[in-house]
């Protein structure tokens, strides 16, 4: 029995780095400090695994599956590489390379989570900080359209609400917590104040807050929020020693999308005339920030990148996976560490069933169920080492705690095999 300490959890953008994983033989026996989802990931990582590579449902060798994948990708005119956010950075780099050598598109799951955030930050910039600074300094914490108990379970205790920090020695008592949302959730019950905003009303409320911070007196209710509540929150924001807005998909997936973030950044910028104020997107997949970072350092752009002309072009709305599939544009797809058949609207997902789709994953998913080629791979952060980026942009090293289930290869190794064969097929052609 061995206990491996300081293990980084490969589930959400919190990348909690204090897990203690107990291993006996090649089996995980315990996951101390893990949240419910993390425990499920570690303890169930061997369940429901894809046993063998398949081509059109028939079991084949890895080499034959790689050959089938390479042929489909090498002969495609408009291939798309999608997913990336639940694997490690070296595998992500291979995904970008694969898009480049096939003249295809590479997109990651940011396009259906914080893609609108990126669009806004590219326009208006960002005031950011580390989660450590939040723990040590933040005395006003605002969760806007986010619900950590559902998606980032230990965020409250590790970073934002209860921890005792250098300048917040009282911990929870030293922080005022606000929750803004269209519905009451477990976050509202933890917060000191819950502000219920009307559906689609975030933009106006953020704009009103900004006006109030600038000195305007709000005299009417905005988006269902009483004027006095808006004026009081603006005052509280200005008087904070350090404030932070942790915003979620409540802003990016509702009316306004990137414009909601644009105005949130404007509010935070305004507040910096009075005090220290920052904002951080609650990134979902544990390495979606890494997918954006790697894709940016390799192509100049964070997602929705097209190599059709041999050089990278960027255009969300055109080269994003949901749009391309809805238009029936791709003639082949390779999905890495993602399940778009379940996570995309059915109108987009169904195109994956019409074209040669290749999927690299650990477990059976709707996407593997409709794929022509399925290749089982090892779990990054449990069976393979690698690097991942936390929601605040810090990179952490993922651990390998057990050998890969059934001796399967990593995403990176399988992608290397596919890239080698695609290059050879392209040269032959």
């Amino acid at each position: 029995m061995a206990v491996i300490t300081d293990v980084v959890c490969p589930f959400c953008g919190c990348l909690c780095d204090d897990l203690e994983i107990t291993v006996e033989g090649n089996e995980i026996k315990g996951a101390k400090n893990a949240c419910a989802i993390s425990r499920s990931k570690f303890m169930s990582h061997g369940e429901n695994r894809i046993r063998t590579p398949t081509v059109k449902g028939k079991e084949v060798s890895l080499e034959k599956a790689v050959e089938a994948a390479a042929k489909a990708l090498a002969s495609a005119k408009r291939p798309i590489v999608y997913g990336l956010s639940s694997t490690e950075c070296d595998a992500i780099a291979r995904c970008v390379e694969l898009a480049e050598i096939t003249g295809g598109v590479v997109d990651n799951t940011a396009s259906v989570c914080h893609g609108p955030t990126i669009l806004a930050l590219q326009q208006v910039g960002e005031s950011k900080t580390s989660l450590g600074e939040v723990k040590n300094r933040a005395d006003l914490v605002i969760f806007w359209g986010s619900n950590p108990p559902a998606a980032h379970i230990r965020h409250f205790v590790r970073y934002s609400v209860t921890p005792r920090g250098l300048y917040v020695p009282e911990g929870r008592k030293g922080r005022y917590v606000v929750h803004v949302d269209v519905r009451e959730t477990p976050t509202s019950r933890v917060a000191d104040q819950f502000i219920k905003v009307d559906h689609g009303g975030d933009f106006e409320l953020l704009l009103a807050l900004r006006a109030a911070v600038r000195g305007a007196k709000i005299t009417e209710d905005i988006s269902g929020v009483p004027a006095e509540e808006i004026n009081a929150l603006a005052k509280r924001m200005k008087e904070a020693k350090m404030g932070i807005v942790f915003f979620g998909l409540g802003l990016t997936q509702s009316d306004g999308r990137h414009m909601n973030i644009d105005v949130a950044v404007g509010l935070v910028a305004e507040l910096n005339h009075h005090t220290k104020f920052v904002l951080t997107p609650m990134r979902g997949h544990y390495n979606v920030a890494g997918a954006n970072t790697v894709t940016t350092w390799q192509t100049g752009y964070p997602y929705a990148v097209d190599f059709a002309r041999g050089y990278p072009r960027y255009n969300p709305g055109e080269y994003t996976a949901v749009d391309m599939l809805a238009k029936g544009e791709p003639d082949a797809a390779i999905i890495v560490a993602s399940d778009p058949a379940a996570t995309f609207p059915a109108n987009s997902a169904k195109h994956l069933a019409r074209i040669p789709t290749i999927t690299l994953d650990q477990k059976v998913t709707p996407t593997t169920m409709l794929s022509d080629v399925v290749i089982p791979v090892a779990t990054a952060g449990i069976e393979v080492e690698g690097t991942a980026y936390r929601m605040d942009g810090f990179s952490l090293r993922l651990s390998k705690v057990v050998e890969p289930h059934g001796g399967v290869k990593s995403d990176r190794e399988v992608l290397d095999m596919i890239i080698e064969r695609v290059k050879a097929l392209k040269e032959d052609a």
Binding site: A36, K41, S111, R183, H199, S254, T320, V322, A341, K350
Partner: protein, 132 residues
């Protein structure tokens, strides 16, 4: 005395149970249980005569699906919550307004009682395969 259907604003999102379930595996019972329901306010469920666990049809301009009703006294009437998953994605559209992001929160949906049965994962994958 009950109404045939109601109109709500539908939002989809994460839940911790959905996270736990998907890590067991998307073919698992845990996952199925975590994503095949819609949360209705007790007031809305009362208007429809729907009890906790009864089946309801969720229909939008983009599609429809049958799932179980889960009653919530925290939700306000007129708002419903659908956990992310392939069931929810039967009713969300692929239009992104040039942003890449579908409208996953804040669309209108009609809810009505149903006895058609909740489709299985395999049923929905078969629909995607046969989709025109």
């Amino acid at each position: 005395m009950f109404v045939e259907k109601i109109t709500v604003i539908l939002i989809s999102g994460r839940t911790s149970q959905q996270g736990v379930g998907l890590e067991v595996g998307k073919t698992s019972e845990e996952y199925f249980e975590s994503v095949t329901y819609i949360e209705l306010s007790t007031g809305d469920a009362g208007s429809l005569g729907v009890g906790d666990g009864d089946q309801v049809k969720v229909e939008t301009a983009h599609g429809s699906v049958v799932v179980s009703a889960k009653l919530s006294d925290k939700l306000e009437p007129g708002t419903s919550f659908f956990p992310y998953g392939i069931w929810a994605n039967q009713v969300f559209g692929s239009e992104t307004g040039g942003t890449g992001m579908p409208h996953f929160k804040g669309i209108e949906a009609e809810i009505s009682p149903s006895s058609a049965g909740v489709p299985s994962l395999a049923d929905l994958v078969a629909t995607l395969k046969g989709g025109s």
